[in-house]
């Protein structure tokens, strides 16, 4: 009898554990399908549901929030999908959220993705209709891919042509085969390198100069920085200005003198005017000069006559001897 009781306990444990496992499994499966717990319904209308079936998952911002309850055709272009959503998600789903059909992985089941909108909007009511967005379907993707393929084909054809032309280009091959080009290139690069080093040095010098200028060293620096020099220069400029003003008066005075001179020269009675302007004076001068010439010639003849004169001959001989002895 006691053994029977123990056996009964064992049997009870055995059966209840199996029943518990079955119930827990059914509950877990049911929870995934939203058979238990508090839910609410939402609707979404699509033109094409792409193989979505009842029981597919619904995600809100990537979180599993419910499943597809039923699908019914409203008219020839509209299919209405009813979604069962966990009631705890209700405060987060707004009226302007959009539903789109997507894929769970590359080969997975269809899912409905509900995406929230950033613009504020009231919370959706039960059995409300969600906006829908057309997701890129595989067929459309393949269509696009085929047009891309066509483009690639054209591109590759053109590429082949280009490569042919490049291959046939003698100029290009001569450039590619020319072994001196790399050497020259290397030299050029070296030169550039050297030039850049020199530019660097130059920049250092310029930097130094700029530093000197900044610190007021050197003539230029003094010009830029020394306030005393600036005052001196200002003074000098003022002096120059003054001098120039004075020179203007001086020039005016000189001008009046010249004017006077001019008038005197042309219209005055002085010696200069006579020399320059009196033609009568010139003819008289010429006449005087003629007379002097004639006088001189007569004097020469007289002198010749004196040489041959007995009274004076001896003197002239004495003079000639004196000149010879000097030589």
């Amino acid at each position: 009898m006691a053994k029977d009781t123990i056996n009964n306990v064992k049997l009870g444990l055995f059966i209840s554990s199996a029943v518990a496992i079955l119930i827990i499994s059914l509950y877990l499966i049911g929870r995934n399908q939203n058979f238990f717990g508090s839910n609410f319904y939402l609707r979404a209308r699509f033109s094409n549901i792409n193989g979505l079936i009842a029981g597919n998952n619904v995600r809100f911002s990537g979180i599993q929030v419910g499943t597809v309850d039923k699908i019914r055709v409203i008219d020839d272009t509209t299919v209405e999908v009813t979604l069962i959503i966990d009631k705890s998600m209700k405060p987060y789903i707004h009226k302007n959220s959009t539903a789109a059909i997507g894929n769970d992985g590359l080969m997975g089941n269809k899912v409905i993705n509900i995406t929230p909108n950033k613009i504020a909007s009231p919370v959706i009511e039960e059995d409300g209709l969600l906006f829908t967005r057309k997701a890129p379907y595989t067929d459309e993707m393949i269509e696009k891919l085929s047009s891309t393929n066509n483009n690639v084909e054209v591109l590759s054809f053109k590429l082949v042509n280009t490569v042919d032309q490049l291959n046939n280009s003698k100029a290009l091959w001569s450039i590619l085969n020319d072994t001196t080009i790399p050497v020259n290139l290397k030299l050029s690069i070296n030169n550039i390198k050297e030039a850049s080093i020199k530019i660097n040095e130059l920049m250092d010098v310029i930097h130094e100069i700029a530093k000197d200028l900044h610190e007021g060293r050197g003539t230029a620096g003094m010009l830029l920085k020394d306030e005393k020099a600036a005052t001196d220069i200002k003074q000098a400029i003022a002096n120059i200005d003054k001098a120039s003003q004075e020179s203007v008066t001086a020039i005016a005075a000189i001008d009046s003198v010249v004017q006077q001179l001019h008038e005197d020269m042309f219209y005055g009675k002085g010696a200069v005017h006579t020399l320059l302007r009196d033609t009568q004076f010139v003819s008289r001068l010429n006449h005087s000069m003629d007379n002097i010439e004639k006088g001189t010639a007569a004097f020469s003849e007289d002198m010749e006559a004196l040489k041959h004169n007995a009274l004076t001959r001896g003197y002239f001989k004495k003079q000639a001897k004196k000149t010879k002895s000097v030589k």
């Binding site: 059966i15 199996a18 079955l22 399908q33």
Partner: protein, 256 residues
């Protein structure tokens, strides 16, 4: 006439099985109820079969996982291993393997036990003493088998899934939580309920065939051996036939 002998014996066998089944349904609803004997049979048939069926389920889960892994790896979907194994175990392998082991263990023991009782005329003695041997021996056993196989199958599925979890962890690493999350994410009522319901039919078929063979055995000890043997063979085949019918029916009902 000789040519039709096997057909005739088959038909007569079928007819007597049908009568046996109808008698079972008549007796089960009529008092008096042999509750104590029923519970004892449940203990013997159910509880004592658990180690055998548990080990079988565990090994099936582990082996199935390890066998499927290379194929899934070549498709790059090793992460779907829990999904595949759980579907296979819950929908088909768990119920059928459990039923076959159950048939091997229970159907043969029923055939042998009732057969030896029959040939030693204990059943007749029971009838004389005023106890309904059909109610006491057959109804309790068949009912116990019908109710215990689903229980064993559920436990076997659970143990098998745990074996599968260990199998996944031999090469990869996954947590028990993630594994069972994926399992329950995959399973639907359409996977669990038809599989559970069909185990009742498996259990009933195994019990009724074992009892029929034992209850109708003859020709001494040789008949007992034959009864035990044919009980196992027929009940194993019937399990598969019921499985075929079950999948057709669930398909027609749209539960698949």
């Amino acid at each position: 006439m000789k040519l039709f002998a096997p057909i005739r014996s088959f038909l007569s066998e079928t007819g007597s099985v049908a009568r046996f089944v109808s008698r079972y349904f008549q007796e089960i609803f009529q008092p008096r109820y042999e509750v104590r004997q029923f519970i004892r049979q449940c203990f013997t048939i159910g509880y004592k079969s658990l180690p055998l069926i548990g080990i079988t389920g565990f090994i099936m889960g582990l082996v199935l996982t390890m066998q499927l892994r290379p194929t899934l790896l070549s498709y790059g979907v090793v992460s779907k291993l829990p999904v595949m194994v759980s579907l296979a175990i819950v929908r088909e392998i768990g119920p059928v393997i459990s039923a076959l082991i159950f048939a091997g263990k229970i159907s043969s023991s029923m055939g042998a036990e009732l057969g030896s009782m029959k040939v030693t005329e204990q059943i007749d003695a029971m009838e004389v003493s005023g106890t309904n041997p059909f109610k006491y021996l057959v109804v309790t056993r068949v009912l116990a088998a019908t109710l215990m196989l689903p229980v064993l199958t559920v436990l076997s599925d659970a143990i098998g899934l745990y074996g599968s979890y260990l199998g996944v962890n031999i090469k990869d690493h996954t947590s028990l939580g993630l594994f069972f999350f994926e399992v329950f994410n995959t399973l639907h009522f359409g996977d669990v309920l038809p599989a559970t319901i069909k185990t009742f039919f498996f259990g009933f078929a195994i019990g009724i065939i074992g009892c029929y063979k034992g209850y109708n055995s003859s020709k001494g000890t040789e008949g007992v051996g034959r009864a035990a043997n044919s009980a196992v063979v027929i009940s194993s085949v019937v399990v598969f036939i019921i499985d075929l019918l079950a999948v057709q029916i669930t398909d027609v009902l749209g539960l698949n």
